[in-house]
């Protein structure tokens, strides 16, 4: 048992890098990533789990980083949009978003890509309906949903074509 405390040390992995840091108990994972680690690719929208902009992967599964406290992440592995981006250039999914013009202001894009990454890991060739349902928890206030769905479909098609080649 840890004694109840307003500040504590947390050890976790962020984008495959070990991190050990003292945090305030009320520090959200989203604020921890952005303000303490400088990983500003994770966007903070509604701060109550509705908009999906702050979605990250925790041990490979999507999670709202505004609904987790950094203190809870002891021993866990967090992956943010930075961790899904290659050192050079773009990932195939990101490239597909670029080609399909699947972003307007770009605010929702990191959350969309993280959500789509989990979807494609679980279901390599999802139907349009499944893609729509998967991203239904991510709000795009520019309402650019059609191109986002196209981008995910395009990424699937590109992978299938790549596998055949």
């Amino acid at each position: 048992m840890t004694a109840p405390s307003e500040r504590l040390t947390v050890c976790l992995t962020v984008n495959r890098r070990p991190v050990e840091q003292v945090v305030e108990a009320r520090r959200s994972l989203a604020d921890f990533l952005r303000d303490d680690l400088g990983l500003t690719g994770t966007h903070v929208g509604c701060e109550h789990g509705v908009c999906g902009a702050c979605t990250v992967l925790v041990d490979g599964r999507s999670a709202r980083s505004c609904l987790l406290f950094a203190a809870q992440l002891e021993g866990r592995a967090v992956t943010t949009i930075e961790g899904l981006t290659p050192a050079e250039g773009l990932s195939p999914l990101q490239e597909s978003f670029r080609v399909c013009h699947a972003m307007q202001c770009g605010f929702c894009t990191p959350g969309m890509i993280v959500t789509a990454t989990e979807l494609l890991a679980q279901e390599p060739a999802p139907s349009t309906e499944t893609i729509r349902e998967a991203i239904s928890g991510n709000l795009c206030m520019c309402t650019g949903y059609v191109n986002i769905v196209h981008a995910v479909e395009q990424a699937v098609a590109a992978r299938v074509a790549g596998a055949r080649a």
């Binding site: 048992m1 109840p4 009320r26 109550h48 999906g52 709202r64 609904l67 987790l68």
Partner: protein, 299 residues
Amino acid sequence: MKPAPFRYARAGSLAEAIALLAGAPGENKLLAGGQSLVPMLNMRLARPAVLVDVNGLRELIGITHTPEGGLRIGALTRHAELAASSAVIERAPLLAEAARHVGHAAIRNQGTLGGSVAHADPAAELPAALVALDARIRMTGPRGAREVAADAFFRGLLATALEPDEILTEIDIPAQPPGWGFVEIARRPGDFALAGVAAVVHVGHPLAPPSPPRAGEGEVRLVGFGVGDRPVRLTSAERLLTGAPLDAESAARAGAAAGPDCDPPSDVHGSAEYRRHLATVLAERALLQAGARVAGGPR
């Protein structure tokens, strides 16, 4: 929107969690999946002194078969696990279906069965499913362990039989009969339902395959959600169907009878009148689903 300062403690065992809660019951809160609690903290609708993180309590995790053919499900079971569990799909498919309707993937990965039940949002899917399934909610605290039938557990808006110093530990679900239905209307997939209905038609109903007589024979359980201050048994509709054939005509009559049992809220998403109308239509549809499953043999 940041929560007010609080102290955080990670419980290493159920006994530790009980001791931590007992420090200041009502002021100290349990943190499980956090998908309902953390928004309330961020909006400062809740200001606990201590958050007791129970996510490490292995004794609250797991889905096991009971000798009676039912399931015992640990309170920390995540919605995504419920939806994907072969044991749940086989023995309580209504619960798996309800879990698929909760929030979005990111919410289902974190949110827990126990958390949803303890939070008791009247529009939530899982509480209604548990009432329809006649589940028993098990909890423990400084005065020992006890269990409460789901019917009696939900007491009103966000109010339950769980005392502030108690921890919800497991949920026991009897073997589910083959006749079941689950329908809801929401603005988007993953939103809380404007209204929904869960139906269970017990073995022994005139339409069910012959089986030895047993308790609950001929019983129909119909539960509405989003249509009152808690999961609402649609008893008028249930009474019309008990021991009577379930067909398109009786399902329609029962659906129409469901309206007066509902006392839904009016808000920006829909008027009380609209939600009551939805309840009648959805009750009929849930019954038709249940009837089709009974008539169709194996689900």
